[in-house]
Amino acid sequence: MSGHSTYNPTSGIGKWMDARLPLARLVHDSFVSYPVPRNLNGFYTFGGILMIMLVSQIITGVVIAMHYTSDAATAFESVQLLRRDVAYGGTLQAWHAVGASMFFVAVYIHIFRGLYYGSYKEPREVLWILGVVIYLLMMATAFMGYVLPWGQMSYWGAQVITGFFSAIPLVGETVREYLLGGYSVGSATLNRFFSLHYLLPFMIAGVVILHVWALHVTGQTNPTGVEVKSKQDVIPFTPYATLKDALALVLFMALMCYFVFFLPDYLGHADNYIPADPLKTPAHIVPEWYFLPFYAILRAIDFNIGIPFTDIVLIDSKLGGVLAMFGAIVVLFFVPWLDTSDVRSANYRPLYKVFFWLFAINAVFLGYLGSRPAEGIWIPLMKATTFWYFAHFLIVMPLLGFFEKPKPRPASITDAVLGKAELSGASQLAGSTAAPETKS
């Protein structure tokens, strides 16, 4: 991250250190003088919130791991003893469990913000792909974390999800046995999941560093989708973005505390208060809410795919479901190239805007379907919504670029900002001739 550093150490020790390990310079350039577009709205605060959430999950995780035992015989009880007997144990455990959910709340807002404002477009493809990698790692971490309390949902969730791997042709069963460390989900599985659940967040942290690095190379997008063109377009990160992010963070924490202290079980499942029983499957196995859309896609494929008019099966329903589910995430990697429009922000894309909201509603509905049993009318609904999910990326996105007539865009961020001021009737064009009054 070279460039025009404005860091200027004044003290002797500051200069001495700067010549050897310019850590202070890195921090200064990344979080103090780093220029951000002046017109970022509240949806752009979720990157910062996510970073804090990752740290919060790692810290509470390390702390509650001090009280956890990863043995099938005692795991369930150790979580209860943590909640009942350890000072602040109940709060810390709820914080970690609710935190996982809130982490996904934030990441979904972050992803949808990216989709709305076209944040994945040239030159930010790598930034976007790193984000999808983080999302994948988060899913793996969350899944393995959910297994650790060793309740009924933990156990049967592990059973179902490791079952995905048995869908792989030829080697599937062997792969699954290697994952489980046995012929069924058991102590060996629990132990390795604990180990990996501890490891993965640090890998996420590594990719987050790359993600932020990529962000600082290309700079942030903004609601207009117009690149930063002049010094007038930007303001220094500190104090402007810092304060805005802090405010958003505190509000987000208030929301989280509402759940942690008043509804700690709302986002979980009652069956996970029953110790794991390998001989008894719960009536409805459902994953945590943040996996529900993918769970619906998994169950939408209940048919074999073969050569028509013959009995030859190319992909059986099990493999098909797993492929569709993973495909739903893999397709995200290609979004930068599937979107053919050269306009970034949906604010200037009248059609895309409508389809964006349709996609969002469809995604929420997919989530609801994921919580329904796979029977009756729910199955065709799952199929329809699954189709729309893929159609959005594979059909709508590529075609819109050709058929959509974008609206005129402002020439620069500053223009847009002043246009906004004019629209609201305040200070008629006052600022447009003079340089905007940025600090520093």
């Binding site: 220029p35 109940g90 700079g219 509402y258 009652a270 009318i377 402002p410 447009s432």
Partner: protein, 327 residues
């Protein structure tokens, strides 16, 4: 490369002529605003139309879905939703009613404990209910637990101490199941949290705002008081099971109606009815599932209050700092 402005080519118009640039900017801004206003109107109306359409569509889908479900004949349990009660521990200021918990303990000890264990709790936990050390010691001493091995290598029986876990009625789950005709009486430690009949849409959304988290005790209460109801015509109850429309996993369960009038003697003048017993033991089970519930809500109130004040301060600080930046 960093995105800082000097690295990028200046805007063409700015490069060419600053005067021109400003002029064109003004025109552009003006044009842009009007267009934007118009287009926003159309976008908003389109969006509204789309949203309405999709909501209607979803509504129709759901309607047909529910209809289909009923016709499909796959039975869904419980037949009746739990009856919502008012609990002292509900809501943001929820607190334990110690008198009720003590009565609940009495019902548990004299009735439920004959079949149901509560193995995550220790006798010392009864201090929460307002008992002192001597009372707890005396309560625990009623039970014999196995300890050892002693210096001779033998296990021995001794009266339970405050630090011991609640002694269950059976040595292990297999014995418990076999003594009850194959149906294992569930452990009480977490039962009030492990039973939560589905709330359904849109109730589960309202629950966030009403802070409804008493599904478990409502369910237990409803189940315990739901036995007198007769099975409707056409509902077959298997031999050895007892019809109960509130049961979460079928139309009948293996537990016979456990409570009856005057079964447990209350010393505080509370009515000795099935209703009252059921309510007290449900509250007791909620306490058993989460003894720290009341403390959690108390600290939550302080934390939330603080965060809202902090957010207010940050809001005004941010406003002050941003005052001279149009954005």
């Amino acid at each position: 490369m960093r995105p800082s402005w000097p690295d990028r080519p200046l805007h063409q118009k700015q490069k060419a002529n600053r005067q021109d640039c400003c002029q064109s900017c003004i025109t552009l801004v003006a044009q842009f605003s009007i267009e934007r206003l118009n287009s926003m109107k159309s976008i908003v109306s389109k969006l509204l139309a789309a949203a309405t359409a999709s909501i209607v569509a979803a509504g129709v889908f759901l309607g047909t879905a529910f209809a289909a479900e009923e016709e499909g004949g796959t039975a869904h349990y419980p037949i009746k939703k739990p009856r919502e009660q008012s609990w002292s521990f509900g809501g943001p200021f929820g607190k334990w009613d110690k008198g009720q918990l003590q009565r609940g303990l009495k019902v548990y000890t004299e009735v439920c404990a004959a079949c149901h264990s509560m193995n995550l709790l220790s006798y010392r936990n009864l201090a929460d209910l307002g008992y002192n050390d001597d009372q707890i010691k005396a309560y625990a001493a009623e039970y014999e637990v196995t300890d050892g091995p002693n210096d001779d290598g033998e296990m021995f029986e001794r009266p339970a101490r405050a630090t011991d876990r609640f002694k269950g009625p059976y040595a292990n789950d297999k014995e418990a199941a076999s003594a009850n005709g194959g149906a294992l009486p569930p452990d009480f430690s977490l039962l009030a949290k492990a039973r939560a009949p589905e709330r359904g849409f849109p109730t589960f959304i309202f629950d966030i705002f009403t802070m409804y988290a008493e599904n478990g005790p409502d369910y237990i209460y409803s189940l315990l008081t739901g036995y007198p109801e007769e099975p409707p015509e056409g509902v077959e109850v298997l031999e050895g099971l007892y019809y109960n429309p509130y049961f979460v996993a079928g139309n009948a369960l293996a537990m016979a109606p456990p409570l009856s009038e005057e079964l447990v003697e209350y010393t505080d003048g509370s009515p000795q009815t099935v209703e009252q017993y059921a309510k007290d033991v449900s509250a007791f089970m909620m306490w058993a599932a989460e003894p720290g519930l009341a403390a959690r809500k108390q600290s939550g109130f302080i934390v939330l209050l603080f965060l809202l004040i902090f957010a207010g301060l940050l809001y005004f600080t941010k406003k002050k700092v941003w005052a001279d930046v149009k954005h």
